[in-house]
């Protein structure tokens, strides 16, 4: 396998072997401080969380570049009856903050939810001081609905808004990935 090939972005579904890496990421200060639920997660809590995961209502993926794991993307609270879900990503690998791979993972997870799972609407709850998440979500089309508990913004994203707002980003990422594949 060439060096270039192993640098392509990938996503894989979270397996049991991955869950302590996820816990490590989730407990990092820069991640935990931006979460609504801020408690440290124990080894056993993490095992229980994974054991109780319902694959019909939530899907978790690790995104990576080559053989380096970067972060977690997820769709949770999937409701097929109402065609809604909640989407999210977190970058755990501190070497990849501000890297395009995070946007790639974000776009991939919403494409999966809207087009593979045929869902129509995503909701997100974001702390009002988490400006980077707010910027990211707004740039893919999320609209604020209301503020809850004084410091949490509740946002909604329709499939149509996502398509419209992410059009140029999707083109950019496709071209970027195709350039990488041609270079291999």
């Amino acid at each position: 396998m060439s060096d270039i090939l192993i640098n392509l972005p990938r996503q894989r579904q979270v397996q049991l072997d991955d869950i302590q890496l996820l816990r490590f990421w989730r407990n990092l200060d820069h991640v935990r401080s931006r979460m609504i639920f801020k408690d440290l997660i124990s080894h056993d809590n993490q095992k229980t969380w994974f054991k109780n995961l319902n694959e019909d209502t939530s899907k978790y993926f690790i995104y990576s570049l080559g053989d380096e794991d970067i972060g977690l993307s997820s769709i949770t609270k999937i409701d097929f009856a109402n065609k809604t879900f909640e989407g999210g990503i977190l970058c755990g690998n501190t070497n990849y903050f501000k890297h395009w791979i995070n946007i790639w993972a974000c776009i991939e997870i919403y494409n999966f939810a809207f087009f593979s799972l045929k869902l129509d609407k995503s909701y997100a709850s974001i702390l009002e001081d988490n400006q980077s998440a707010i910027r990211l979500n707004k740039s893919i089309g999320y609209v604020k609905l209301k503020t809850i508990k004084s410091d949490i913004g509740r946002y909604v994203l329709s499939k149509e808004c996502f398509l419209e707002h992410s059009k140029n980003i999707q083109k950019y990422l496709k071209r970027f990935k195709s350039n990488m594949e041609q270079d291999k």
């Binding site: 501000k98 395009w100 740039s139 990422l173």
Partner: protein, 78 residues
Amino acid sequence: MSKVTFDEFALKFAEELEIKGNDYLDQPLDDIPEFDSMGKITTSLVIENLFNFEIDFEVLEKEESIKTLFNYCRKKCE
């Protein structure tokens, strides 16, 4: 040679990244909160529109300030 001026570039950069104030003109790019993952992709698209070339993501990561980024784009168009 590109006819885009620094002021035009800086204005478009700030507008697209929704940066308020003028501090970004003298700040290192790394210190501009809006110049994050999405901000870099947005900047790439701004450069494509203004200068007509596709900038490498690695260049965006290496350039130190908006001034050095502008100079890179100008040189690329010579």
